[in-house]
Amino acid sequence: MSTVAKEFKPEQIIEQLDQARTLAFSMPDTYPQVLRQILNFVHNPDKSIQKWCVKFLHESFVKNDKLKQHDKIDLALDTLDSLIFLSNVKDIDTFESVIDISSVIYKLVFQYVAENVGCNQVWSKLTELKNSLVNKFQSNYPLEPSDNAEHDMLRNIHTKVELLKFIIIVIDYQSQTNVVNANGDSTPPPDTFSLNKVSSTHALIKYSNMEYESKSLLDLVLKVFSYDILIPPLLSAILNHCVIIMKRKPQYANKILNIIENYDTNTKFQSNYQSVESFKLSKKYVDRALKIFIQHVLRHNLVPSNYQNSLNKKLTMLIDRGNDIRKKNIFNIEEPNIKKRKFEGFLNSAKKIKTIDYKNLYCLNDVDNELNNFDLTTVPQNILVSMVINALGKASVTKLSKALEIIGERYTDAVESNVVAAPTVKKEIKQERQGFDDEDDEDGPTGYDPDSVYTLPPPTELSFQEKKDHISIIIKNFFNLAKNANIVSVEDKDDSKTQNGEINVSKELTKIAIKSWKKDSWIILLTRLATRGMRSADEGKSPDDRANSEISDMIRNAIFDYFLDNIHGRIDLIIEWLNEEWYSEKVFNEEIAIKKTVSSDGLHIQIETPIYNKWAGKVLDAMIPFLEPNDRKIFIRLMSDLPYLNEDLVGRIKSLCLDPVRSKIGFLSLQFLIMYRPPVKQACINILQELSNSDQEDLKEEASKLHAKYK
C-alpha cells in the first residue's frame, strides 16, 4: 500500500485514507486492519498526511468505543514504533496529540507487559517512548532553544503542561498506590492499576527501578518550584497534578509538602521577560493557587499530622495576603522589594533582520538605546583597540558564541530572503560580484540577482616563486619571533604598558590570540611546517611534491643557518629539529611501506630516513670543525640525543680523533656510543680498529687500547 502511495498526490492519498477511516467506523470488524495499514503512512514525508494519521490515531485510542479492548491492546503494541517516530516530529500540534495517544497506550502496554512473560522487545520500546517524552519536559521541544535559559523557562509552557499529564501517569503507574481515605488512612486501591498489581518477581518490571524512576520524575516536576522566577500557568498546573500524588501516593506527601511549606512568592524575582505589573499579578495568582491547594489537601485529610500545623499557618498567611489586595488596584500597591532577575540574554535577540543595514545586523542591545548613536570613529585607535581587547578578554565564551550565532543567522536570513537590499549593502554586493565574474554583467541593470547566494571568489593560485617568497616571509617572521624580546611567554607577568604609557598592542593581542605561546613555540611550528606541513603523499614524484620539498629545504636551510650563527648556544634547538625530522619521516615512510605491503610481515620492513640522514650529516660536518677541546659535554649530548645514528654518521667522529687537540672528545664519544647506543656499537668498534692501524703512534696506542677493551 505504501509503495503504491508514492504514485498519488497527497490530496488523493488523504481521500483514500478518509475512505478507509469511514470503513473502520462503519464496520468495526475492519478497524484493526485499517489502523495497521494506516500506520504505514505515518512516515510519509508529506506533513498533511502525517497530521491526518496523528488525528486518526488520536481518535482511535482516546475515548473510542468502536474498538474492542483486546484489539486496542494489540494495536497499542503495533503503534509503539510509529509513536516513537512521531514523538520526534518537530510540530507543537503533532507533539500534543502524541502525548495524549501515548498516555492511553502507555497504560495499555504497561499492563500488558505486567501480565505477560517474554515481552522484552515491547518493554524496551515502551521505555524508549516514555524516555522520548519525559526527556523533553526540561527543554522547549519542539521549539529551538532561545538565546538564554531564563527565556526558555517561559517558552512553550503549552507543551510543558501537556507533558505533565503523561509524566504524572508514569509516576502513578510506576509506584505503589495507597489511596488516602476521608479519615486520613490509606488503603490499597480498589480497581485501578498501579505497581501493586505487578508481581514482585516480574522479570522486566523491577519495583526498585520503577519507584526510583517515579521519584526522579516527581523531582523533575517539582524543580519548577525552585526557579527564581514565577510561571503561574505552569505552577498552577503542577499543583493541580500534585493532588493526585497526595491522594494516591502518600509516600511522596512529605516531599511535596516540604516544598510547599518553604515556597514563598516574595523570594522570587521579576523576570526580564515580564513587566512589573505582570509580576505583581503573577505573585497574586501563584499565592492563590497555593492557597487552594493547601485548603484542598487539608480538607480531604491528605496531610500527614506533622505538616498540619505549619500548613495551617501558611494558609492563614496566604488568606491574609489575598484579603489585603482583594479590593485594591494591584498596580498601585507599592512594593519596594521587587527585584529583577539578573539578565543573561540579549535585548535584541531577533534572528531575522528588520532593516537591512549594518546597525540592524550587529545590534544585540535595545535598538533604541541612545548608546547606539555614539560615534566610535572619534575614539583614537589605540584606545579603541584596547577597549576591544578588554571586552574580548572579559566576554564569556558561550555568550560570545551565542551572539555570533544570532548575527550569523541574521546575515543568512538577509541573504536568503527576497527583501530588496538597502542601497548601501546592495552596492557592495554588486561590486564584489563584478569583481570575480564579469559574465554576470549582462544579467540586468543592477547586476544583482537576489536569488543567488553570494559566495567569496576562490583564491587565485600562487605561482611557485610567489610561494617561495611567502615562505621566506614566514621564515623571517618566525626568526623575528625568536629574536624579538617582546614576545614572551604569557606566563611572564609584566605590565603591558611601554614606557610612555601606551599599551603594547601586539603583546596584548598575543595574550588573547595565542594563550599557550612559549618561548620555544616558534621552532616547533617551523620544524613541523618543514617536516609535515609541506609533505604530501605521492613520494616526491609529482612536480607539486618536488616544489614542496624545495620549500621544506628552504626552511631547513634557514634553521641550519640559524644554528651555524651560534653552534654552542643552539644545540637544544638542533636536537629538537632533528628529532622532529626523523620522527615525521619515519612515520610517513612507514605508512607508505605498510600500504604497499599487504602481507603481514610489512611491519618488519626497514624504514629509511634519507632526509634526516642528510641533514644530521650536514649538522655534524658543520659542527665538528668548530668544536673546542672543552665542548665535550655538548657534543656527547648531541650524540646521545640524536634519534638515529648509522655507520656513516658515526664515521664523522673519526676526524675528531685524528685531531691531536680534540682527539679526546672523539674517543670519549666513541666509548659513550659503544656503551649506551648498542645499534652503532659495531660501527664504533670498526672505527677503533681502523684507527689502531694508523701511522700516528699516540692515536694508534689509544685506539688499540680501546679496541681491545670493547671488541
Partner: protein
C-alpha cells in the same frame, strides 16, 4: 457564530446575574458559551435579607419568573431588577445549572468565574475530579480558569460582562495569529502569552480584579 471559538463557560454563585449577563454578551457576540453556578442552591433576594427566594438548580427561569411575579413583593422585584433579570435569563437558556454536576456539558477550554469564592470552588472541584474519576481511555484536557471579580448587582454585572467580553475577544484574536508570521513560535502560544494578555487587560480594567490558573479535566 464566531468560527473556531473556544469552548467557554461563565460561573457565578447562582447562575442568574453575573454569569448570565456575561453568558448573554458572549453568546450575542457569537461565542460558544455555557454558564453555571457554584452555590448549593439558587438564592435570589426575597422580601427581606433573611428570607431569600431559594430554588434548586434546574428549576426553569420561567418557573422562577412566574413564582416571583405571583408573590406580593412583585413591585419590589420589579424595582430592584430581579424580574428584568429573569426575563433576560429565560431568553438565554432554560434553567440555572450547577457547576459540580456539569459533566454532561463536556469539557471547556476557558472557564470565567465572577467571584473569588467561585474561582476557588471551581479549582477545588477540578482538583477533586483529577483523582476521583478514572476513565482509562480518556485523557485530560487543559482548561484555563480566570476569575473576574464582579459585584453582585445589575449595574456591575453589565460592566463585568463587558469586561469579560473584551477579555475573551483578546484571547480569541490572539489565537487567530498565524504561526508563520512570527519569528519565535512562543509568541503565538496562548499559555506563554496569557500573563501578558491578562496584564494588558487588567491595566484597562483595574476595577475588575483577576485570578488565573491552569487546571485539567
Amino acid at each position: 457564530m464566531v468560527t473556531d471559538s473556544l469552548k467557554i463557560c461563565t460561573v457565578c454563585a447562582s447562575n442568574n446575574n453575573r454569569s448570565m449577563e456575561a453568558h448573554k454578551q458572549l453568546k450575542d457576540a457569537g461565542y460558544d458559551v455555557k454558564s453555571f453556578g457554584t452555590g448549593s442552591a439558587v438564592r435570589l433576594p426575597g422580601p427581606s435579607i433573611d428570607k431569600p427566594n431559594v430554588y434548586e438548580f434546574g428549576t426553569p427561569y420561567e418557573d422562577i419568573y412566574n413564582d416571583l411575579i405571583s408573590q406580593n413583593c412583585r413591585k419590589m422585584y420589579e424595582a430592584n431588577g430581579l424580574i428584568h433579570m429573569l426575563d433576560r435569563n429565560r431568553h438565554v437558556k432554560p434553567a440555572p445549572e450547577k457547576w459540580h454536576s456539569n459533566s454532561y456539558a463536556g469539557k471547556f477550554d476557558l472557564v470565567i468565574t465572577c467571584e473569588e469564592r467561585c474561582f476557588d470552588s471551581v479549582m477545588d472541584d477540578l482538583m477533586f475530579r483529577m483523582y476521583s474519576r478514572n476513565d482509562e481511555s480518556d485523557v485530560k484536557q487543559i482548561v484555563h480558569v480566570i476569575n473576574v471579580d464582579i459585584k453582585d448587582d445589575n449595574e456591575n454585572a453589565l460592566l463585568g460582562g463587558k469586561g469579560i467580553l473584551k477579555l475573551v475577544t483578546m484571547i480569541h484574536e490572539f489565537r487567530q495569529k498565524k504561526k508563520d508570521a512570527v519569528e519565535d513560535e512562543s509568541d503565538v502560544i496562548l499559555e506563554d502569552q496569557m500573563m501578558s494578555i491578562l496584564t494588558e487587560w487588567q491595566k484597562e480594567n483595574t476595577h475588575l480584579p483577576t485570578l488565573y490558573g491552569i487546571s485539567y479535566y
